[in-house]
């Protein structure tokens, strides 16, 4: 193809196949977001070192994943999906409880692990696999099967209960289905069905999930309870103003008014310390990552690669959006970290693996020709 924007970074001494196959624009944007996060974490040495180690490891995995040809794991897609499903079942039955729900698998000798995070990669992979040899245009039956493939893990995750991750897993599935060319009519039809089913869904939510949604619309009703996080995060962001209070001057987080200030609510710290300008920069960075990722997806050589890359990028964006909207009080507080910035292991890993896959899809195009 003529317009190849990919710059392949070649290490000196590498011969035919480059040792490192990375996309420079995507890499630089990702690293910028990571560094931004590390700068915020620097105030707490323990968090900082933990995050530094995780990010170095995560980036190393990204580099490795980027080297693997997508065709290699195409046949593995159903297996990976099946394994992720199995793990979700295990976690439901035997998982370790944390903060009122079972999300973790605790294996001796291994770091704590959330199978739902694995599903964020496994589901797009499975759907891309499912669509890769379907006849175009898709039949309605194909659409229904794809919906079912997405629905099973979503329901399992919601049962944990983890509404936030459930929404994100659903988003990653729907993105692939949408990109695969599902007819607008089917999409709108299922959307209408979904809206009609809202009351049923509401009834099926746990009390605390309902409470979170109610609190969202009126945080002042319970200022010391469920509304606390939203009040404190909007206060932190709003008090930052245009230019912010300055680095490490966030009183809301320093004095512990802001809960989860290094994990889910970290953007409130950025908003307080660096103001609107800092937020603008970060949002721009995320938009660049999305744009570049989608662009790389369009350049992918085959349908599997395209769908997988597109699906992963949208999952990434869904994370960003849900987290920020939650911290600003636009959507209910669900436990979703801010990709690349929030402190935490599993989630960062799935994001970086996704980015690695996107890069590999693109950079292995040349090899395939």
């Amino acid at each position: 193809m003529a317009n190849d924007f990919v710059r392949q970074l070649s290490l000196p001494g590498a011969s035919r196949a480059p040792a490192v196959r990375l996309d420079a624009v995507l890499c630089i944007s990702i690293l910028a977001a990571i560094v931004l996060g590390l700068v915020v974490h620097y105030r707490d040495p323990v968090t900082f070192h933990g995050q530094l180690v995780r990010m170095v490891l995560g980036f190393a995995i990204l580099v490795v994943v980027a080297r693997i040809e997508p065709r290699r794991y195409l046949p593995w897609a159903p297996t990976i999906y099946g394994a992720a499903l199995a793990l979700l079942l295990v976690v439901l039955l035997f998982g370790a409880a944390a903060k009122g729900s079972q999300r973790w698998i605790d294996l001796p000798g291994l770091p704590r692990f959330q199978p739902s995070e694995l599903m964020k990669v496994a589901l797009p992979l499975m759907l891309a696999w499912y669509f890769h040899d379907r006849r175009i245009p898709l039949r309605f039956r194909d659409f229904l099967v794809a919906l079912a493939i997405a629905a099973v893990p979503v329901l399992l995750v919601v049962r944990q209960p983890d509404l936030g991750t459930g929404v994100l897993v659903a988003a990653s599935g729907l993105a692939v289905i949408f990109l695969a060319g599902a007819s607008w009519r089917w999409l709108f039809g299922s959307l209408a069905l979904g809206v009609a089913a809202t009351p049923v869904l509401w009834m099926s939510l746990r009390d605390y999930q309902q409470e979170r949604i109610r609190t969202l619309f009126n945080p002042e009703t319970d200022p010391l309870g469920a509304g606390w996080s939203i009040i404190q995060s909007t206060t932190a962001i709003g008090s930052g103003g245009l230019l912010g209070k300055g680095y490490r001057e966030s009183t809301q987080s320093r004095l512990d008014f802001l809960p989860e200030s290094s994990t889910d609510f970290i953007i409130a710290v950025i908003g307080e310390e660096w103001g609107f300008v800092g937020i603008l920069f970060l949002l721009f960075l995320y938009l660049v990552i999305l744009a570049r990722g989608l662009h790389l997806a369009t350049l992918a050589p085959d349908r599997f690669g395209r769908l997988l890359a597109g699906g992963l990028m949208l999952t990434f964006f869904a994370h960003v959006f849900v987290n920020i909207a939650m911290v600003c009080g636009l959507v209910p507080v669900v436990g979703v970290p801010l990709p690349l910035v929030s402190y935490g292991g599993t989630s960062a890993l799935s994001i970086l693996i996704g980015c690695g896959i996107v890069m590999s899809i693109h950079t292995h195009r040349a090899g395939r020709r």
Binding site: F178, G238, S239, G241, L314
Partner: protein, 624 residues
């Protein structure tokens, strides 16, 4: 190949669509940030500051109280208290349990803590759980306690009375501010204050002792812990309360306390020229310090329920019949009314009858085998022998109206001390009896009152005051505790002293003092010729003392005592009184002594009075 192209174009279109949708969502988020950070920035800034900045009152140091020699009577002592902010603690039980594993907390302390928690108090005020923490306990809490919200080690200045029970009824004491106080106190002035003067000088001079509250801005974290002062926001230092110096002489107070020993009673010693209260003893007393750090319920019940009423200030609030100590007043009233003089004599055969009545009023010397009586008695002998018959006659001649009016000039029936919350006592009149008892005044009432019995009730402070007025030959000065203060006392205007006692001539005063000297010094004169107190105190005395004894009958048996026969018997005994001043011709001290159910005034109360005056006047006691 064509299919592939179409498919690719379709994918690109959807990718672009998705990107645009994402961009719109991002713009939506940006709009929210504009709203929060630019449009509502001011509101949120204020809110963030309200979160973290607290105006903290600085409690002023309470003024210190000294005695006339500079001995510290009321001090402020820094202590550390383990306190809990109930509003910030998830579960009180859990918190108490965890704290109890760190420091030793008694059941009493927990019960007391729960009682204070239940009381209405200022929101977010730390409530003391354990006071007087040791260094080791503080360290243990600081190391382990940081992870609990609402647990604090508060450093505060606590009132401390170095002399404990010795001075408690003279100086008074403070108590923790309770819910009733909060309704009446100035919320700003007292915003940092935890204790308020509840008794005595501490209460009377509360305004001056308290000082002015200051404030500072502090930064607090979400647990309400103060992290640092925000000096840039301004600070107003507290102004310490004024230090007070009292007329009290702790050396004399100690001697007076020792003179009473284990006996229930009261002693008031006055400086006749200034009216200064040199000693004010009510025995038994109690140590006020545990009340400040939190007294265990059981200990409090013992104090409050004791039949010896240690919490009650007998010297200022206790009212008793004065008995014969009232006779000098009756004598002066008779002289003033012109119904007797110093020459007039009567024959005292030990009995007195009102005309037309069968009831016999007897002399104190009456026994079943001897009607008693003091023989030929003039006014002087009537005083040094304490002849009842003479005063029965004299009182009825003066009449209740004149007697009452005259006696009121000595401060009976009213609280005359400037800065002491004292009882009025009862100086009965016809109107009073009609109002109080619904009965007319009978002549018999006057007979009883003539020897200080009947309806007349006085406090030890009032009797000391009357002794002082006699010592001053009628010149008046109100008793007072305050000698001086750091600065002018706000809101305190001393009233002008009352008029001197009108009626007695200069000679009357001197003759009266002579007669009272005879009470102490007239001895070796034969049967019924000696002063009543001479045998007990007059034989070895280094100065001229004027005095008068009294043995007041305990007429009424109060309820609740009839069950305990042993105690009943003891409590039926007479109250022993003695009033005195010395040196007689240049008085430097005037004293009243009460020994409850002590028996004879001369035998029991007079030696106590002598010990007190000795301690004040004699050089060998100056070292004490």
């Amino acid at each position: 190949m064509e299919d592939h192209e179409i498919e690719t174009r379709g994918f690109v279109a959807r990718a672009i669509f998705i990107f645009l949708a994402a961009a719109v969502l991002m713009l939506g988020l940006l709009a929210r940030f504009v709203d929060l950070q630019i449009l509502k920035h001011g509101d949120f800034s204020t809110r963030a500051d309200e979160n973290r900045i607290q105006v903290q009152p600085i409690a002023p140091d309470r003024g210190l109280i000294y005695d006339r020699r500079g001995v510290l009577l009321a001090d402020n002592r820094p202590i550390r208290t383990l306190a809990v902010v109930a509003e910030r603690v998830a579960s009180l039980d859990t918190a108490i349990g965890e704290l109890a594993s760190l420091v030793d907390i008694s059941d009493d302390e927990i019960a007391e803590f729960r009682r204070r928690i239940e009381q209405s108090r200022r929101p977010y005020e730390p409530v003391a759980l354990k006071m007087n923490l040791t260094d080791e306990e503080v360290a243990r809490i600081r190391v382990n306690g940081h992870r609990w919200a609402g647990i604090e080690v508060v450093e505060e200045n606590l009132r401390y009375y170095p002399l404990g029970s010795l001075m408690v009824h003279a100086v008074g004491s403070v108590r923790r501010i309770d819910e009733d106080d909060l309704e009446t106190l100035d919320a700003v002035r007292y915003s940092g204050t935890k204790f308020i003067g509840r008794f005595g000088v501490e209460q009377f001079y509360e305004r001056s002792l308290h000082g002015e509250v200051g404030y500072r801005h502090v930064e607090i974290d979400v647990r309400g812990r103060v992290l640092r002062k925000l000096e840039e926001l301004g600070e107003e230092p507290a102004v310490a309360g004024q230090n007070l110096t009292l007329h009290l002489d702790s050396r004399l107070q100690t001697a007076a306390y020792a003179a009473l020993g284990e006996r229930r009673g009261a002693i008031v010693a006055l400086h006749p020229r200034s009216g200064g209260i040199l000693a004010l003893v009510s025995n038994p007393g109690y140590d006020p310090n545990p009340f400040i750090t939190g007294i265990p319920q059981e200990e409090y019940r013992l104090l409050a329920g004791s039949p010896n009423t240690p919490l009650f200030n007998r010297a200022t609030r206790g009212t008793y019949a004065p008995g014969s100590t009232f006779k000098p007043i009756v004598a002066l009233a008779g002289l003033t009314a012109g119904v007797t003089d110093w020459e007039r004599t009567i024959i005292d055969n030990g009995e007195f009858r009102l005309p037309g009545q069968r009831r016999v009023y007897r002399d104190w010397s009456w026994t079943p085998t001897n009607s008693g009586g003091q023989g030929i008695v003039d006014l002087r002998k009537a005083i040094f022998r304490s002849s009842n018959v003479y005063f029965y006659q004299l009182g009825t001649r003066v009449g209740i109206d004149s007697l009452g009016e005259f006696a009121s000039q000595f401060g009976f029936g009213a609280a005359t001390a400037l800065d002491v919350d004292a009882a009025d006592g009862v100086l009965p009149t016809r109107v009073w009896k009609k109002g109080d008892r619904g009965e007319d005044w009978y002549l018999g009432d006057t007979v009883n009152m003539s020897i200080g019995q009947g309806h007349l009730l006085v406090t030890p402070l009032q009797l000391a005051t009357s002794a002082m007025v006699i010592a001053n030959r009628g010149r008046w000065v109100q008793p007072r505790l305050l000698l001086s203060s750091d600065a002018g006392l706000s809101g305190f205007d001393a009233p002008s002293p009352p008029q001197p006692v009108r009626g007695p001539t200069e000679q009357d005063w001197e003759m009266l003092v002579d007669a009272m000297e005879d009470v102490v010094h007239r001895g070796n004169q034969g049967f019924r010729e000696n002063g009543t107190a001479w045998f007990y105190i007059g034989q070895d005395i280094g100065y001229r003392m004027a005095g008068k004894s009294g043995s007041a009958q305990v007429v009424e048996i109060r309820q609740g005592e009839e069950y305990d026969e042993e105690a009943l018997d003891e409590r039926q005994r007479k109250h022993a009184w003695f009033i005195a001043f010395a040196p007689a011709d240049d008085p430097r001290i005037a004293v009243s002594v009460l020994v409850e159910n002590g028996g004879g005034g001369s035998s029991v109360a007079a030696p106590v009075a002598k010990e007190v005056i000795d301690a004040y006047l004699l050089p060998q006691y100056a070292r004490l």
